[in-house]
Amino acid sequence: MNWLRFSALVAAAAAFLGIIVWSSGVDPVAALRSGFTGALGTPYGVSDTLQRMTPLLLSGLGVAVGLRAGLFNIGVEGQLLVGALAAAAAAILLKGMPGWLHITLCLAAGGAAGVLWALPAGLIKVWRGGHEVITTIMMNYIALNFTKYIAANPFKDPSAQIATTVQIPNSTRLPDLGGSLHINAGLILAVLLAAGLAWWMKRTVVGYELKAVGANVDAAVAAGVNVPRTIVLAMALSGAFAGLAGAVQVCGYEYRFYDGISPGYGFDALAVALIALASPLPIIATAFIFGALAQGVQSAQVATDLPKEIAMVAQGIIILVAAAVGWQRFRRPS
């Protein structure tokens, strides 16, 4: 019966999608074909898909850490933005050190900025009982406008027409590992961190307690878990992943910070993490799928004159269906 419902849902969504695409004057089948080819059909396409996957994976891990502790960190987007700006600042302002140290400092600055941006939500929740969904959303607005101001004023590249910093030095760029897929070191780092997080949650006492708080906070208290400390830690860790996502975006792909650097990675990450049931290793897969989806929709748009708005609607519907299916099963074993 569940499969029947599932198939009906997918069929209905596909039909709806087809009608929308068709009504904008584009052949849905051609759009689908070009989307598929664009995302997965060529080495160039796969390379782009992998690039889009990277920030989704890192920020998805951030969302997941929060979810496992019972926290809905909607602020991943804002944490990602300040992380990106901090990494760019570290790359541009720091000087006179070996490249490997400089890159490390840039990534650390990004992670630290993410932590800084996430901490208020954790502390407010623990001290005053304020809900993290509200506080992180507010922090998102502050991050968005604050980073925009910095990129448009004190830190602006004087020669540019838009709000952007100058490019970061070559020595602070995460290397492309070559090959036809141009896999970036940032992606490797993200995958390693996913594995590390999975191990950490499974094997460490603190990870065990974090999951206990998320699964049954009363039982966790009775088992001697320090819940306030665990909540603050989970929020900080969540922010660290988000900030690192921003830093990798700057050091691995964009080489500068500019207003609009994130098309909403932090929000897509919510779906990425939820569909993977907040498990780190499955998030690698969902991040890849979401990356392919975004890349495919853009390819279809370029190849078939599909209006950008319709392409966005299509992507939204697919995410909605995926989330509906994933949410239904969001009951986590340990």
């Binding site: 094997r203 006492v205 039982a219 966790a220 088992a223 001697g224 986590r332």
Partner: protein, 499 residues
């Protein structure tokens, strides 16, 4: 119900069970944990669909797809764990799903009137505007029963309704159930307390291993015969209260004051010395400070004044985690809320609370081999029935969940065990097993403090017995002083004014 069979994977929970109940009767269903009682009731209430067999109500074959259809047909069930929503008021909980309406709006004044009359009929009293979070477990149970009446249920299924009730409360409940039966309601009662069956029921069905092994009129049987049917063998005679020598004091409480949720002095000057080797029992009617005392000892409620000392440690200064490390162990009354993480496996639950202690953790890392070993040992020692250690704790039967909690509390020999209703939901054999284990640990020097609303259990297994009333211990009874009648009088305040 004819030929009901229900399987869960390899387990056949109900095997060709027949059950027929006459209108206006009170019909008891008894059996060990895992005998299939609750499963059978859930099939009737359509939480589960039977794999085989059929159900007839008033001579007509019926098939409900879900509990809402069963409710609409007049079948209501109160399960072992309550469905009360703490944030809603008592009134809103009562009418949830069958709200009194005036046009599109809730009609709370009509509802309150009807609620009052229902409560009066049952001899209960409720502050309908108070949030349900302020209710004691016993009051929740009462509210659940009123919910059935609110929905005009004709067939009432009660799964262990008295597990959380004190003897006077249970007596009130049964008197009112008899009243309902005389009005023509049919009552199905799942219980472990055979006394209740003999005293209040008309007919009884005994289940064992998923099969119906006996059904007869209560008038034709007695407790011993029922016990033999239930376990299928003669239990060894209950062990006597042995003349064990109590050791030195390990837990001291002096002039303890603990506030309740509304700031009242729920525990108001309590003194108690617990000695190694003792199984001390605290008797009392629910709501006299039991939960507050337990929570303060666990460390999730503050001690306002006075002293609770474990050996040399002042408990007021220690976190729950430090108390656990010092050898204090707890068995909470509410296993779903405090005892287990139901979405986790038996394996992961088996060290919850012990997880920071050696050998389960070393330098911040969990040690899977040790955890796995502990889970298997706990399963074996307490005969926890589960497919494997990977089984989700929430999928275990209530009795097996309780065994897991007890097994975990006793896994590493504790210094002091604080047990709040430790045998809630356990059958004769399970209760015996729990107390056998507690006694074995006490012989090795553990001290146990049992807080329970089940006076029979305390009388059977504990000495000394304290009586808790209005936040104070009004009596300490030992040896020949222990007398059922007298304790009953002390509990309800007919004797022994609080000093």
């Amino acid at each position: 119900m004819v030929g009901i069979t229900k399987r869960f994977g390899r387990l056949t929970a109900c095997d060709q069970v027949d059950l027929s109940v006459e209108k206006g009767q009170t019909h008891a269903i008894v059996g060990e944990n895992g005998a299939g009682k609750t499963t059978l009731m859930r099939v009737l209430y359509s939480v589960y669909q039977p794999d085989e067999g059929s159900i007839e109500v008033d001579g007509k074959q019926v098939r409900f797809r879900n509990p809402s259809e069963a409710i609409a047909a007049g079948i209501g069930m109160v399960s072992q764990h309550y469905s009360i929503i703490p944030q809603l008021s008592c009134l809103d909980n009562l009418m949830l799903g069958a709200e009194a309406m005036a046009g599109p709006l809730l009609d709370r004044s009509t509802a309150t009137a009807r609620a009052d009359s229902l409560a009066q009929r049952m001899g209960f009293r409720f502050d309908w505007k108070a949030p349900a979070s302020t209710l004691t477990p016993a009051a929740c149970q009462k509210l659940e029963i009123l919910k059935l009446l609110w929905r005009n249920s004709e067939i009432l299924i009660l799964d262990e309704p008295t597990a959380m009730l004190s003897p006077p409360d249970a007596a009130v409940l049964f008197n009112n159930l008899q009243l309902l039966a005389r009005e023509g309601k049919t009552i199905l009662l799942v219980t472990h307390r055979l006394r209740e069956v003999i005293d209040y029921c008309d007919r009884v069905t005994v289940m064992r291993g998923g099969k119906r092994v006996a059904e007869c009129d209560v008038a034709d049987t007695d407790v011993d015969r029922l016990t033999n049917w239930i376990v299928g063998e003669d239990l060894r005679p209950k062990s006597d209260l042995d003349g064990r020598q109590a050791g030195k004091t390990v837990l001291t409480m002096k002039d303890l004051v603990i506030h309740g949720d509304r700031g009242e002095r729920a525990i108001n000057g309590l003194d108690l010395d617990l000695r190694a080797g003792e199984i001390a029992g605290i008797a009392g009617v629910d709501g006299n400070g039991q939960s507050e005392l337990f929570e303060a000892l666990v460390g999730i409620r503050a001690i306002q004044s006075g002293i609770a000392r474990l050996g040399q440690d002042d408990l007021g200064q220690e976190s729950t985690s430090r108390r656990l490390a010092a050898g204090l162990r707890f068995i909470p009354a509410d296993r779903h809320r405090y005892g287990l993480i139901e979405d986790w496996s038996l394996l992961d639950n088996s060290v919850l609370g012990l997880h920071r202690l050696p050998p389960f953790a070393k330098r911040g890392l969990l040690r899977p081999q040790e955890v796995g070993k502990a889970a298997l040992e706990e399963m074996e020692a307490f005969r926890i029935m589960a497919d494997s250690v990977r089984t989700r704790a929430g999928d275990l039967s209530g009795g097996n969940q309780q065994r897991l909690i007890v097994a975990r509390a006793l896994h590493q020999p504790p210094a002091v065990l604080i047990a709040f209703q430790p045998c809630r939901g356990l059958d004769v054999r399970g209760t015996l097993a729990v107390y056998d284990s507690i006694r074995a640990e006490c012989d090795r020097g553990m001290a146990a403090l049992v807080i329970s609303f089940d006076l029979d259990e305390l009388l059977e297994y504990c000495e000394p017995i304290y009586v808790l009333r209005d936040g104070r211990l009004v009596a300490e009874l030992r040896g020949l002083e222990i007398d059922r009648e007298r304790i009953g009088r002390l509990m309800i305040g007919l004797e022994g004014a609080a000093a």
